[in-house]
């Protein structure tokens, strides 16, 4: 029976090729615009560490007081050196790490080669197990290395490829900022997006991955400047990097792993206790105003998904709806034009269900054809995204099987939805009327 409906549908569609083409193109455009913008939205709104994001927390401390708060009463999104080090020293979470962005220079062996600039983060040893950072060779460093300000380094697979041809380089040394650092680990592929461990400096997305990770304590000891953002409420009283460390300028990111509700509650209490202690010590003159958000909440609070992305998706969905309304109108015209044919079929004994099956098949075919057109436009659209969006975001949007499948499914479902009302009207055609008038 289905093949009969298929044949009927194809014949009907062929009878008015212009109208058919119009419906197919409308669905194709609507679906591809939605899918292209959705591919960008999907890329930027993903959870970078889904298995653990609800256990990873970003503490915020209000070291600036009411004068430094925004209109929403939020404390700064990063920590100053004093508080970051205090939180590390108190060590109240299962795992925790302060971090800041560094961009040291590195000597490249071989005569006449220029030194190169590398990027990375200064972190504590617990950074690696806390974020489940994958290693190709070796591992992170020990807690002792944190305490001893050891000259050790974890390098990215990319840097390892560049310097050591991808061989196991654990134990070798690199000359970073004029000092030798021993390599203790080489990372596997690790490029989480959004860059949840450093939203403050990246705004969420970064096409460049970190080349190196060094001990935080070591980086401070050798005066390795912060290469990320610094926000100050007031000018530091003393000059230089040392002055920065004694100031209330914020430039350090912090993350803590808290595994259950009790741990979270305890950490909140700890933060409030810390702020109160600072108040009684005279450093703060205001009530505690801390925040403790898990990774998804923090990403949301920092508006990591650009509002442009959401607006585009919304407008594209609007386009899809208009295309559907358009298709409803055209299908209605097309189906009702065949009232006499429906009348004959009904008079010969076809039940309403048969009319439904026949016309929904026709709508489905239009949807499928629209989907195929949509596939082509979606692929072109995702390619074209690179031309209109900033590199760090455009690089994340890509065509994959699930996107293509979704395109087809959305196209067919939209067409079937669009076909429902016209089909309902077609099934209600009174056979007697049609047979009589013609």
């Amino acid at each position: 029976m289905f093949s009969y409906y298929l044949e009927l549908a194809l014949r009907s569609l062929k009878r008015s090729p212009g109208l058919t083409l119009l419906m197919v193109l409308a669905i194709g455009f609507g679906v591809s615009a939605s899918m292209t913008t959705y591919s960008v939205f999907r890329a930027v709104s993903g959870d970078p560490i889904p298995w653990k994001s609800s256990q990873l927390f970003v503490p915020q401390i209000d070291m600036w007081g009411p004068a430094g708060r925004g209109a929403d009463g939020e404390p700064p999104n990063a920590l100053d050196y004093i508080d970051a080090v205090a939180l590390m020293r108190d060590h109240r979470a299962k795992l925790q790490s302060a971090s800041y962005r560094v961009a040291p220079t590195m000597e490249v062996p071989g005569s006449g080669r220029h030194p190169i600039s590398i990027s990375g983060h200064a972190v504590y040893s617990e950074f690696f197990p806390m974020l489940d950072v994958p290693f190709a060779y070796g591992s992170g460093w020990s807690v002792d290395a944190d305490t001893n300000q050891a000259a050790v380094v974890v390098i990215s697979g990319k840097l390892n490829q560049k310097m050591f041809d991808g061989q196991n380089s654990v134990g070798k040394t690199l000359d970073i900022g004029g000092k030798d650092y021993q390599i203790v680990g080489v990372l596997g592929k690790w490029d989480p997006q959004p860059r949840f461990y450093d939203v403050v400096d990246t705004g969420g997305f970064d096409t460049d991955t970190d080349d190196v990770f060094l001990p935080f304590t070591r980086a401070i000891a050798v005066n390795m400047n912060n290469a990320g953002n610094t926000s100050c409420n007031s000018n530091p009283a003393e000059a230089g990097f040392a002055g920065m460390q004694r100031s209330s300028c914020v430039w350090i990111e912090f993350m803590a792993e808290l595994d259950d509700a009790t741990a979270i509650q305890k950490y909140r209490e700890y933060l409030d206790g810390y702020a109160l202690a600072q108040k009684s010590a005279g450093r703060f003159t205001w009530a505690p105003n801390n925040r403790l958000r898990d990774v998804p909440a923090f990403l949301d609070n920092q508006h990591v998904v650009p509002s442009d992305t959401k607006v585009s998706l919304l407008v594209a969905l609007g386009l899809l709806i208009v295309c559907l309304v358009n298709t409803v109108g055209l299908l209605l015209a097309k189906f009702l034009r065949r009232s006499s044919e429906i009348g004959v079929r009904r008079a010969l004994g076809a039940p309403q269900a048969a009319i439904y099956a026949q016309f929904l098949t026709e709508a489905g075919i239009v949807g499928l054809a629209g989907g195929v057109v949509g596939l082509v436009f979606t692929a072109l659209g995702v390619l074209g995204v690179g031309m209109v969006l900033p590199k760090d975001i455009a690089a994340l949007a890509h065509v994959n099987f699930s996107l293509l499948l979704l395109t087809l499914v959305v196209a067919v479902i939209s067409a079937l939805l669009a076909g429902l009302y016209p089909t309902f009207r077609a099934s209600r055609v009174q056979p007697a009327w049609q047979l009589k008038s013609n």
Binding site: S234, S312, L319, I321, L332, L389
Partner: protein
């Protein structure tokens, strides 16, 4: 033209009529808001920087091997000498930031030393006596810096800030009566005297946090030497841009090897910096433009399709009317008026939807309020589109021969 018979006929096509009206309403709502977004983005990305972008290069240099602060200032002076001697280079200076670079320092400026009394934010640009000629800034009052005023600052907190040059917008904000020259303002605990006013220079940031003070910049006579490295802004002689762009880092490496200039973005044309800075604005405008075009095309095609269908359905009635004396013009007018009636219904609903959509965007995405003029323009566009789309099928209808009335089926 009589409207009554048209309304009577439309009553027989309630759903078709409602669908077209709905489509027109949605199209209007989306097109108005998209046009408004496009207009906003275009206004944003076409803001002038006030500097001579076409002939400027920016070089980001980082020193290797940790020189001391004193060593760094002599290294910087040597680099500037190297740059200024290059054939093709007109002038150069060292600074911390440049317009559209999206990185820099901002200070509050006030009439008194207390920070709370700050009147406005301002961007701080490190400058020397070469800055004005290099950037092509127009001095509208006062004077340029003099060589003996330029000092070395170890970091931001050790700037002298005793003489400053400000932009006109900043001067007018601080001293609305236009007597800013020679006055003292406070960027720190010490007073800073305004010695010069330039016509215009945009702050380094293009995003929204600086929108309210986009042209309030301050030039300070300091040279900053930190481990973060030096940035040089270079003015290139006419026609020499490509040659200097290709050769400048080689020349600097030849003078001193112990440095890092990223091969990727160590040397940038300011025109490329502009493209990068406004990429998302341009992208959003293009995307909205494409969506508008597709939307209008689909709506027009939908109107053509449905009107054609109606014309086909009514051939016999048209024939009867023609036989009873209606002219071709009458038939044409009938369909155009019919479309106008439906479209009018659509745009009334659509105008409400457009304003509602804008209010939603304001609430959720911090967009600005759309002036009603956009709805007005949108209404005109949609009505005109409807009439044009109806024209072809309506003309076909007007050519229906009176003989059709006599044919059965």
């Amino acid at each position: 033209m009589q409207i009554k018979p048209i309304l009577a006929a439309l009553r027989h096509h309630k759903s078709g009529t409602a669908l077209i009206a709905l489509q027109i309403a949605l199209t209007l709502a989306i097109v108005c808001n998209a046009l408004f977004i496009i207009r906003q983005r275009m206004a944003h990305l076409s803001r002038p920087t006030g500097v001579d972008e076409a002939s400027l290069l920016v070089i980001q240099n980082q020193w290797a091997g940790k020189p001391s602060t004193d060593e760094m200032s002599s290294l910087m002076a040597a680099d500037l000498a190297t740059l200024r001697q290059l054939p093709g280079v007109a002038d150069a200076y060292a600074t911390n930031a440049w317009p559209l670079g999206n990185g820099g320092i901002s200070f509050g400026m006030g009439y008194t030393p207390e920070k709370q009394a700050s009147v406005t934010s301002t961007a701080i640009y490190f400058a020397d006596q070469h800055t004005l000629p290099t950037l092509g800034l127009k001095l509208i009052a006062g004077r340029n810096f003099q060589a003996d005023e330029i000092r070395q600052a170890k970091d931001v907190s050790s700037m002298a800030l005793s003489e400053i040059i400000v932009t006109r917008d900043l001067a007018e904000k601080m001293f609305p009566r236009g007597d800013a020259l020679g006055k003292a303002v406070y960027l720190s605990a010490k007073p800073s005297t305004i010695v010069g006013i330039v016509e215009r220079m945009q702050v380094p940031w293009v995003y929204s946090f600086a929108d309210n003070w986009a042209e309030r910049s301050t030039l300070v006579p300091d040279q900053l030497s930190t481990l973060r490295g030096d940035n040089y802004v270079v003015r290139v002689k006419p026609g020499q841009m490509d040659a200097v762009f290709d050769g400048v880092s080689k020349a600097l490496f030849a003078a001193n090897r112990l440095r890092v200039i990223s091969p990727r973005d160590g040397v940038q044309r300011l025109s490329d910096v502009r493209t990068k800075a406004y990429k998302s604005d341009r992208g959003m405008a293009i995307m909205m433009g494409l969506i508008c075009v597709v939307l209008l095309a689909i709506t027009a095609a939908g109107i053509v399709g449905l009107t054609s269908f109606w014309v086909g359905q009514r051939r016999k009635q048209i024939g009867v009317r023609r036989a009873l004396g209606a002219t071709r013009r009458n038939i044409l007018d009938y369909f155009l008026t019919e479309n106008l009636l439906i479209s009018t219904g659509g745009v009334i609903v659509g105008s409400v939807l457009a304003v509602g959509l804008n209010l939603g965007l304001i609430a959720y995405f911090e967009l600005n309020r759309m002036p009603l003029a956009y709805v007005g323009v949108g209404v005109l566009v949609v009505l005109l589109l409807g009439q044009l789309a109806t024209l072809a099928p309506a003309l076909r209808a007007s050519r229906v021969s009176p003989v059709e009335a006599t044919r059965s089926v």
